[in-house]
Each structure stands twice: as structure tokens, then as C-alpha cells.
């Protein structure tokens, strides 16, 4: 049917008129399950705390005040900046960044390895990568704790091999939290990087080698820039959930590894909780994540423009 446009169906307006009705279900889902909860969270962060958990419908900035400002023990001193929560945030960002780096360092070679196998083997490798994720995250994290505890299999086998004399105190350390985050989110790095590397044209590496580039130069100047969108996607997919993670820090870490996720989690538990404060922390966290995404989108736009 070249040339003449299709006449609109009799009595109707054609597909164009159906666009909005067809989008309604998608909008409903996004609205009810994503925008509404976020809105609720924002509203709650401005409410007053009820003693046994829950809220009173009195609008106040108390939650944000508690987060950012310190007015002394009895609340009557001139306000100074409250570092407690900011430092928890800072530590969480740091932990998440480290976990992202670890995932990248392991995930990139893994993705590269899979992408360079013959096509038939790739699906098998990808399948193997996803197998642990059939098991619930909580169970996996608990298993990891079991694995690395003082008289767990890891320490036992290291000791029976004679590599160490005393068990390594791994649980309740930063390292354990790192391990937990790394283990939880590694596939989120491997999969997008794999997708990018699989599309990578290896003739580009040959062309660069032909033009006197060595292996590392090829990696730095050709491969990494070309697969960058996959790497950026992987980093975001690891960084964002790591930042808000609470299972790994809760189960594997101790007081010194307290992260944002645990802080929020605690605010909604029993009578100790403080819903408005938990909501306010979430709002701050979400704002930060949005900033990261915006920065990434701008960087991507810059990359596309050259």
C-alpha cells in the first residue's frame, strides 16, 4: 500500500484517537503502584509522629529538622548541623560505591568471557549466572553469613588447610557487608555489560591493533568507550539498590556498618519507630538517587552528541 494513506475506519478516528485509551492501563499501574506510594511517603515525611508508630495528621518539618539539625539534648540550644545521619549517608554512599566497583571489576571480565564464548554456550553461562537468584535474597544472605561465620565452612576449610590458625572474624565487618552487596547485585552488572559486549564489533579491536595500539590501549581507548552505555547501566543497577540495601548490612554487618537501608527499616518497626522520620530519610535518599540518574542522563546525552 504505497502512497495513499489508509482512510480512517468508518465512524472512527483511526488509531490516533485510541492512543490515550490504550495508555490508560499503563498509567494506572504506574500511578497506583509507583507515584501514589512515593506521594504518600512525601506527605508522611511532613506529618507528626504517633508514639506507638503511625502518624498524626499535623503538618510539621520536625522529621527534616531531626535529620539535618542538632538542637541539643533538650532541643533548646541554637541549631548546628547534625552529623549522625549525614555520616550514615556518607558511609552508605561509600559502601555502595565500593560494591559497585567490585561488581564492575569482577562483572566486566565475566561478561567479556561469556560474550566471547560460541553463541550456543553463552545461554548456558547466562543461565548459570542467574541460578542463585532463584532463591530468596534473605535466604541467600543468611546462607552467606553461615558460610563466613567463625566456625563456618569457610573458616573450617581454611584452618584445616593450615592457611590460618585462628578463624577470621568476618561477620559484622565492612568486608562482610561488601561481600553481601557484591554477591546480591553482581548479576545486575554482568547482564547489561554482557549485552553491550555482545554487540561489540571485535573488528574494532583488530583495527586498533592494526594501527599500532597495544592490548591495554585498545581496552582503554576503544572497548571501554564503545561499551560504556552497558557499564553505566550496570553501575546504576548495582549502586542504587546497594545504597538502600538493608538485608546485607543488617545480617552481615554490625553497629559500625549501619547503612541508610537499616536506618529506614528501623523507623517502621514496632513502637520504637518514627514513621515521619523514616519517610523523610527515604525522601532524601530518593532525591539523591534522582540526582545520580539525572547526572547519568546528561552524561549519556553528551556521549551521544560526541
Amino acid at each position: 500500500m504505497a502512497g495513499a494513506p489508509l482512510p480512517p475506519p468508518a465512524g472512527g478516528t483511526g488509531w490516533k484517537g485510541l492512543t490515550i485509551p490504550l495508555l490508560i492501563p499503563a498509567w494506572a499501574v504506574v500511578g497506583i503502584f509507583m507515584l501514589l506510594p512515593v506521594l504518600l511517603m512525601v506527605v508522611y515525611s511532613f506529618l507528626t509522629k504517633e508514639f506507638r508508630g503511625g502518624v498524626v495528621w499535623d503538618f510539621t518539618l520536625a522529621a527534616y529538622d531531626q535529620f539535618f539539625l542538632n538542637r541539643g539534648l533538650f532541643g533548646d540550644e541554637p541549631p548546628v548541623i547534625e552529623w549522625t545521619y549525614i555520616s550514615i549517608f556518607w558511609r552508605s554512599i561509600w559502601q555502595a560505591a565500593l560494591a559497585t566497583l567490585a561488581c564492575l571489576l569482577v562483572g566486566f571480565p565475566t561478561a567479556w568471557f561469556i560474550a566471547t564464548r560460541p553463541a550456543a554456550q553463552r545461554t548456558v553461562w547466562l543461565f548459570l549466572i542467574t541460578i542463585p537468584y532463584w532463591v530468596n535474597l534473605l535466604i541467600r544472605t543468611v546462607s552467606l553469613k553461615f558460610l563466613i561465620r567463625e566456625n563456618g565452612p569457610l573458616n573450617d576449610s581454611l584452618m584445616s588447610l593450615g592457611l590460618i590458625t585462628d578463624p577470621l572474624p568476618l561477620v559484622n565487618t565492612n568486608l562482610a557487608v561488601q561481600l553481601g552487596l557484591f554477591y546480591s547485585y553482581l548479576p545486575f552488572m554482568v547482564l547489561p555489560v554482557y549485552a553491550a559486549v555482545e554487540r561489540y564489533n571485535f573488528a574494532l579491536s583488530e583495527a586498533a591493533a592494526d594501527l599500532y595500539a597495544g592490548r591495554w590501549t585498545i581496552l582503554r581507548e576503544i572497548v571501554l568507550p564503545v561499551v560504556r552505555p552497558g557499564i553505566v547501566a550496570g553501575c546504576i543497577l548495582v549502586f542504587v539498590p546497594s545504597l538502600g540495601a538493608f538485608l546485607a548490612p543488617d545480617l552481615l554487618g554490625g553497629a559500625k556498618t549501619y547503612m541508610i537501608g537499616s536506618l529506614i527499616d528501623e523507623q517502621f518497626r514496632g513502637s520504637q519507630g518514627n514513621w515521619p522520620f523514616g519517610a523523610a530519610v527515604s525522601v532524601v535518599l530518593m532525591t539523591m538517587v534522582l540526582l545520580v540518574l539525572l547526572w547519568q542522563a546528561r552524561a549519556a546525552a553528551r556521549g551521544a552528541r560526541g
Binding site: 573488528a203 583488530e206 583495527a207 592494526d210 594501527l211 597495544g214 564503545v226 556521549g303
Partner: protein, 351 residues
Amino acid sequence: MSTAIDISSVVKRYGTATALHGVSMEIRDNEFFTLLGPSGCGKTTLLRCIAGFEDVTGGEIRLFGRNIAALEPNQRPVNTVFQQYALFPHMSVIDNVAFGLKMKGVALAERRAVAGRMLEMVHLSDFADRMPAQLSGGQQQRVALARALAPAPKVLLLDEPLSALDLKLRQAMRVELKTLQEQTGITFVFVTHDQEEALTMSDRIAVMSQGRVQQIGTARDIYESPHNRFVADFIGETNLIEVDVTAVSGGMADVVLPGGHRLRCPAETTATGRHHLSIRPERLSLTGTGELTGTVERVVYLGTDLQLLARLADGTPFTVRLQNSARTQVPEAGATVGLHLEEGAARLLAD
């Protein structure tokens, strides 16, 4: 003249498949050398072995006398124009062209200047700041050429660099490439499956088939004196007629044509028995009674030429090319014609 690339008995296997069965050739310095052959005959494979992307399974390749087996691709003074261009998608045209110089440690100002000159040479100066994705196929191909030429390699390998261009541009680029090669004095190893391209540009041509070299020679050599059936058939148009060879001596053979006529002609084989005779269509003329007799089936008008499709008494198809002049007497379809073989028109081929 000295030898640029000396390829001796190179074998390349991929698992159980053999892409090159003992290929030998000597490519001279400053030569425009062409590898010509049908798809899958191993042209790209041979180029990749020279560039270093593939290790040879057997034999050796010497570059200016030096065995290069141990050299990585980035250590070989050889640049490649890839069949699929392989331009760096994240770099502008000028950065692509300057990449080789950058890797050689040339300073920014100088490599920009050289890259600019290269772009001028391929008529892409106005496109220096574009990204490869914003170029047409032909423009990309010219960037690939400029990129490979910029570091001034001793040898340039070109893998079907003109295949993506339309006829007009292809013809223009042929002339330009040839001029470029003469100006720069760089040895060109040029791959193509287009025989016309090969014949018009090359100093010498290696005709390949199924991983073997069939013949190496100038365009004239391989067109006028093909060694075997493959070369005769692949290069230009030819008539292949099965004949009885009664005697061969001193490079000449006595053969019996279908129809019983006897003929003495140059021979590429020393064996008697049944072999093929090659006769170029333009080396035949029509007479009342000639060495061969056939029935005209069709006359095709080609403008400057007329093509006569005929059949011998034993059914062998046959083509004759006649110049389209006022004096040419054109037989009707169905007419019986005698064919006269010009002096040296026939050549007995090896199988």
C-alpha cells in the same frame, strides 16, 4: 626490484576446514598486487595472516626479508582497510584518521595536520568533525582508507575497499587508488572478487580458488594465457571446448576439434587424452567453412558489439563476439555458420 612480502607454502586451518592449502607468492616492493577469486576462496584469510590477526598453521610469511610470525599485529608495519570499514564509532572522522599516528606517539598538532591532508586526499575535508555514523557507506570507506594511509605504512592491505560504492564512485576511486599507490610508492595488496577491477588496476594478479593460487601474472598474462580451466573461466568470457589431444611437445599440442578438424595450439598441459580448449569469443570470426561449425541460437545486441550464442553439432554452447560495424553480416537464428579461429586464439588448458 626487491620483495616486499614473501609468502611461502602458507597453510591455514580452522578446525577441520582448510582455508589456505599451501599458498605461495612473492609481492614486490611498490607493487599494486591483487588477490582475485570468488567468495570464500581465502582472500580475506590470507590478508589476515599477513596483518597478524590469524596465525598461520604452516608455512611462513616474510616482510622485507624478516619472518613476521612472532610479531603481534600492532608490531607489523602493515595497515589494513577492512572489508566492513571498522571505523571507531565514538571518535570523529579526524580522530579516526589520526589514531594510528597517536599510537605511534606523533604530537597532536602534527597528527592533526597529517590527518587533515589524508582527508583532503579522499575528498572528505568538510567531514572532519562528523561521527562515522553520520557518513554514507562510500564516505566511511574513504575514511577507512585515509585512516590506514595516515601512518604511512610500508604495505597497505585492502579488503574489497570499493565493494560498497556505486558504479560511478567505484570507477572514480579505482583511478584515485591507482594514482595514490603510484604517488606514495606503498605496496598495495588489494583484494577483490571483481575481475574488471583487478584487470584495470593491478600490476600483477594472483587468481585464487578454494584456498589455492591458480595463477599469478599481469592482467595480460592471465587473460591471454590462462593456465587452467578455472582461470580461463573466471577471467572474462571464454568458450571451453572438450577436445582430443593426440600429441604434446615443446609446449604445443595437436588436438582434434569436435567435427574432426585438426589444430596445433599452445598447451598448458603435457598429458594427452581429453582436455579443454579455451577460445575467447572475440578471437573468432564467421566464415563459410571454418575449423568449427555451429548453429546460431540467438543474437544479442550489446551496442558496440554483437554476441552470437551458438551450439556445436555435439551440443557444446558457444559464444562469438562480433564488432558492430556496417560491414558485419549478422546471421539469423537457426542459420548454420562456420567459425574461424584467429591465429593463437585457442589454448589447451590444464584441468
